[in-house]
């Protein structure tokens, strides 16, 4: 009695997105592939791309739009998230829709707590449940478990330069293939990433199985400058083996190295339903 399990992290959601972003690959076949310069090191590119969306303490506010054949209209979930990566803790508050507003998730590794305002209850979510779809989106448990690191679990190879990378026609990008190590807990056979030549930001990623079939695509867009980084404010994930499914995340606000008080990561904070950040 199992169904296809898609899971999304709790506070690790932010981390997962940041991590997933470190990979970009050419999705469309029609664009040209030029040879890359000799001195370009794939691993450096990967590290830069991975680091571009991370910091030790990241705050973000975002809206997630979920499309599914089950839904007559796309489902929109707005949330705020605080992540303290070194301490492995994070906090998420749901702002919209009204029915879910006030719901809170607190991750204090390895436990996940959820607060449900309507019944005023805090429950510990067993890890098996974390593997369920988070708020109904398409993210997989690969993102959740976070046993894998895009840098350490993969070998990287630059294939060339793409003049028309998928989703970002005006830019030029390095096409980098990420091949997972044998023991890496990653189901993909390969991840192909497109990394912007100029600013080192990830533009797109394609996920393949071991037979080379493309199973999902992740596209980044709406790049804006922030703290010297070009941050994509639009992340779109589309599974390719199912019809009519898509998850889109629009960043409303993001802050790197944000100051965070310890009392954000407490159960008490879950109940407080804080409207403003900090």
């Amino acid at each position: 009695m199992t169904r296809e399990i898609r899971c999304v992290a709790s506070g690790a959601l932010a981390a997962s997105i940041l991590l997933a972003v470190s990979i970009a690959a050419a999705a469309s076949a029609r664009a040209e592939l030029l040879p890359a310069p000799e001195d370009v090191d794939a691993r450096t590119l990967a590290r830069r791309a991975e680091g571009s969306l991370r910091s030790d303490r990241t705050y973000l506010a975002a809206r997630m739009v979920i499309e599914s054949p089950r839904l007559t209209a796309p489902r929109k979930v707005a949330f705020e998230s605080w992540e303290d990566a070194p301490a492995k803790r994070s906090f998420i508050r749901i702002r919209e829709p009204a029915k879910d507003a006030g719901t809170g998730f607190l991750k204090l590794h390895p436990n996940l707590w959820m607060y449900i305002p309507r019944v005023e209850r805090t429950v510990r979510v067993p890890p098996s449940m974390m593997l369920q779809s988070w708020m109904g989106s398409d993210f997989t448990n690969d993102d959740l478990v976070r046993e894998s690191s895009e840098l350490d679990d993969y070998d990287h190879a630059v294939l060339g330069i793409e003049t028309e990378p998928p989703g970002s026609p005006g830019r030029r990008a390095y096409v980098v293939d990420y091949i997972p190590h044998e023991e890496a807990p990653v189901v993909w056979g390969k991840i192909r990433a497109w990394i912007d030549i100029e600013n080192g930001m990830p533009l797109a990623q394609d996920f393949f199985d071991e037979d080379g079939e493309r199973l999902r695509e992740l596209r980044f867009g709406d790049f804006r400058e922030l703290d010297g980084r070009h941050v994509p404010h639009r992340w779109e994930l589309t599974p390719l083996d199912k019809q009519g499914h898509k998850t889109l995340i629009e960043l409303l606000e993001i802050e790197f190295d944000a100051p965070m008080k310890d009392d954000v990561f407490t159960k008490r904070n879950l109940k407080r339903n804080v409207k403003r950040r900090r």
């Binding site: 009695m1 169904r3 979920i66 599914s68 089950r70 839904l71 489902r75 829709p97 029915k99 879910d100 719901t103 707590w113 959820m114 449900i116 309507r118 019944v119 209850r121 805090t122 429950v123 510990r124 979510v125 067993p126 098996s128 449940m129 369920q132 779809s133 708020m135 109904g136």
Partner: protein, 408 residues
């Protein structure tokens, strides 16, 4: 023609003792065949009934792929029209709609995964015995926010009757679903795995919780008896086809039960076949002896102009009459016995019965007499008698009048 019949009849009773013994053996066989088949039919039907009344019903209506995937995505619409149709169809003895999906059940902060089953309490009782498996407390009534847990699940969560538990999961609309429920009872189930994970609520609550609207996961139907399952399916086939709903028979859902019955029946029919064959030999012997004894008479009769074909028929008729008498008496004895146990089943006791009860099987000596049983038995006995008569009949019709007369 009338002559042949009278001749045959007279020949049969020429040696009453011999005929009597053969008839007695035939009666015995007929009795056993009819009663064995009736007993097997009755008990297997009961077994099927007990099994389908655990959960599946004789027919399970569901969307395509439901049985494989079992997710909210494979749901069917139970609108007023379908409900009316199910009510109006006479072949439907009872029907029970369900909404089922996964959710977490938690008391205080500890939670466990559970299979949530939303049922309509009244309709469910008309199809399954789920409500009778209550261990503590009671089953769900129509009241809102009541929940009944498997006993092991309740124990693992440390839940008592009257406690509040939180149910939370993902609805059909992909929204989060959470609601507080009050525990009103616990259930004992034969499968520990199920008892560790089942949570029963009312259909209305489940539909609201999972945001199903008028959609349900499945509908279990009960037919008049196991034998009428196909008719039930046929009666609804048009409606179901229109709506794209599949009807799964209990054999599809529980192939192990089907196989068990098949094997059991096979073993029984094998032994009955042996029995009938042994009796057939008895008939053969009797008829053959009768023919051989009347060599002289046959010779005379043939010399006088009776056609060999006639002689053949007479011998056949003798055999058939023997069988028919045995059949008549056997049936006359068997039918009342079968009918008695059909309406007055006797309970079986002992360890064996206790074990059966635990799995939901009531151990009864119960028969069911069906016309097909009587027709089949009759045809079999008569057919066998006809085959047994082949050799003697042939021999009789080939008697040479000259040789026969010579033995005068």
């Amino acid at each position: 023609m009338g002559l042949e019949w009278r001749l045959a009849w007279r020949n049969v009773w020429r040696n009453p003792r011999r005929t009597g013994l053969t008839v007695a053996a035939t009666v015995f066989a007929v009795l056993l065949v009819i009663l064995s088949v009736a007993l097997s039919t009755g008990m297997h039907d009961k077994m099927v009934e007990d099994s389908v009344r655990v959960h599946s019903g004789h027919l399970t209506l569901a969307a395509p792929d439901y049985l494989e995937e079992r997710s909210l995505e494979q749901s069917l619409q139970l609108d007023a029209a379908l409900a009316r149709e199910l009510e109006a169809t006479p072949e439907v003895r009872g029907w029970a709609p369900r909404v089922t999906s996964f959710a977490l059940v938690s008391k205080q902060s500890e939670s466990q995964g559970a299979l949530v089953l939303g049922v309509d309490p009244e309709r469910e009782k008309s199809v399954t015995t789920l409500a009778e498996r209550v261990k503590r407390g009671r089953f769900v009534s129509g009241e809102s926010r009541e929940i009944v847990l498997g006993e092991l699940l309740a124990q693992n969560l440390g839940v008592e009757i009257g406690d509040e538990v939180l149910l939370f999961g993902v609805a059909y609309s992909l929204e989060s679903a959470y609601e507080l429920f009050r525990v009103v009872g616990t259930l004992r189930l034969p499968e520990p795995q199920l008892e560790r994970s089942l949570a029963v609520v009312s259909l209305v609550d489940a539909a609201e919780f999972f945001v199903m609207g008028d959609r349900v996961s499945e509908i279990a139907l009960l037919a008049a008896n196991a034998g009428r399952t196909q008719q039930l399916r046929a009666a609804l086939s048009a409606t179901l086809a229109d709506r794209g709903i599949l009807a799964h028979t209990w054999q599809e859902v529980m192939p192990e039960l089907d196989v068990f019955i098949l094997l059991d029946d096979a073993a029984m029919y094998l032994t009955l076949a042996i029995l009938v064959v042994v009796v057939a030999f008895g008939i053969l012997n009797t008829v053959l002896m009768a023919v051989l004894e009347r060599k002289r008479e046959l010779g005379v009769v043939l010399a006088l102009g009776l056609r060999p074909g006639s002689v053949l028929r007479v011998v056949y008729l003798e055999s058939l009459m023997l069988a028919a008498v045995g059949l008549a008496i056997g049936a006359a004895l068997a039918i009342p016995i079968a009918l008695y146990f059909q309406h007055n089943p006797v309970e079986v006791g002992g360890d064996f019965a206790e074990l059966g009860k635990f799995f939901g099987f009531e151990m009864l000596i119960l028969t069911r007499l069906e016309t097909s049983n009587l027709v089949g038995s009759s045809l079999t006995i008569l057919g066998v008698a006809a085959i047994a008569a082949f050799y003697p009949a042939l021999k009789a019709s080939r008697s040479r009048p000259v040789e026969a007369l010579r033995s005068l």
